[in-house]
Symmetry: C2
Subunit: 251 residues, 2 copies
DNA sequence: TATTGACACATTGTCCGACAATAGGTCAAT
DNA sequence: ATTGACCTATTGTCGGACAATGTGTCAATA
């Protein structure tokens, strides 16, 4: 009988990955900070003892992570990852996993009321002003479906931003890419401009008056309205969401 | 006086990015599905009309997104992104943004009770069995700080998995990487094994008996205990979290 | 029959060298 | 102060090269 010892498969990693990990580590350790310039590709390659080709592959990995970018289309620079950039990877993953509208809605029910609640304590005057501007703009586009959707998405982003909680912003990033855009169909089908405006107004007032409970409740009601809209329009609440327009060229 | 027309800066993108976007698009459109093999690098390069070097850079971008990988260390294959893989990018971003423990805790307060609630409706017998196994294991390692932390993290992952909601899994991924590991300090300082076990048991029972409210409440209490632990141990509730051990070699 | 070994082949990981395009700087001319 | 001419450094892309390694085939062996 053969002796049965299971060796753990040893994971050798290619050079481009090792290089990438090393750079990432240096950045995350704080040794290199956002805004710092990196040496030229040639110099980096020499330091690591690899060729420029290999180094460039390593750079691509970090580039997709959003932690390095190019300043002025030239020099490499350590970058503070933008929520949108990081969120795109997450959204891609969700699309491939055939995430349903229902699943996203459940997450939204967890995060959006929370955002409203937290915003009450942390919103600055500037945040409030931006929300006020958004409301005013919303009033003028109640019948313009495209612009209404845009304003709607903006509003929720503004509330989330007002929490000044980056972890929350990041967690709800996929909602921006997948949840709200899909909701455009509801707007076109039901024209619920008035209901949206009322909910947004209540949330705004709650934030201004520092009433967390109110903000939370109205955001929750707002989300439930979303669900009702999807169901009433028979727009596939249990269907996988689709990538409406993913041709974004952000930076 | 000069006529003032603002041109939008036209965004040319390098070839490696264009190639990457094209492949991503084909995959997200469903034309290529998870598990499908891609042609060899040389063939792909010929199809796009670029060199292998350029194509390889494009591949790296997709690789970091987790949507393609290698089967058997060779052929390129379309992959269903793993939460851990995607989550790493997100965690990196949060670390660079100096996300505080408090921020993560706020997100956890939004997502973990939600996970408990949803799990009640969707947990399979297998899910419940896994939770039961975890509880049993936890009892045996109450004094072993390292193993206890491991079991603790596992438990929350199991609850989240039991929701069968990928969007939720993805949203809470950073909690795994940053929130719970940081909590290891609390375990070492306060040895709250018993409190953990009790909370976990209540959540487990609630899930088995299909009592969403209970599951939600106990998860919430559990999270509040977390916060108390951090504050009592004076472990920096308002400090940025640090990447305890980020030397993970996952696939 | 099932395992082993030898061998050829395809593909990747890595290297090297090359060149056009362009961002940035300097300096003179206007 | 702006424009234009010029030089330099660096990137984006190319083409070719080779060793290492996974894959497949086929004969030899137990």
């Amino acid at each position: 009988m053969p002796v049965n010892h299971n060796f753990s498969k040893l994971a050798r990693q290619p050079a481009y990955r090792a290089v990438s990990e090393k750079i990432r580590q240096v950045i995350l350790s704080g040794e290199l900070q956002a805004g710092d310039m990196l040496p030229t590709e040639l110099e980096l390659a020499e330091q690591f003892g690899v060729t420029r080709s290999t180094l460039r592959e390593a750079i691509r990995l970090l580039e997709e992570s959003g932690i390095i970018g190019r300043a002025d289309r030239k020099r490499l620079v350590v970058t503070l990852p933008q929520t949108a950039a990081v969120g795109r990877s997450v959204s891609s993953a969700m699309l491939m996993h055939r995430v349903t509208f229902k699943e996203l809605w459940q997450v939204a029910m967890g995060l959006e009321p929370l955002a409203g609640k937290l915003a009450c304590a942390s919103a600055t005057d500037e945040d409030k002003q931006r929300l006020a501007d958004n409301l005013q703009r919303t009033e003028t586009v109640l019948e313009d479906h495209a612009r209404l959707l845009e304003a709607e998405i903006d509003f929720h982003n503004l509330v989330a931003s007002a929490t000044h909680n980056y972890a929350l912003l990041q967690a709800r990033a996929p909602l921006n890419d997948l949840f709200y855009p899909a909701w455009g169909a509801v707007i076109r089908a039901l024209s619920p401009g008035q209901r949206i405006l009322v909910a947004h107004r209540r949330v705004y007032e709650a934030i201004c008056n520092n009433k967390p409970r109110e903000a939370e409740r109205w955001m929750e009601k707002h989300m439930i309205d979303f669900r009702r809209g999807i169901e009433m329009g028979n727009l596939g609440f249990d269907q996988p969401v689709t990538s409406a327009a993913n041709t974004s060229g952000q930076n």
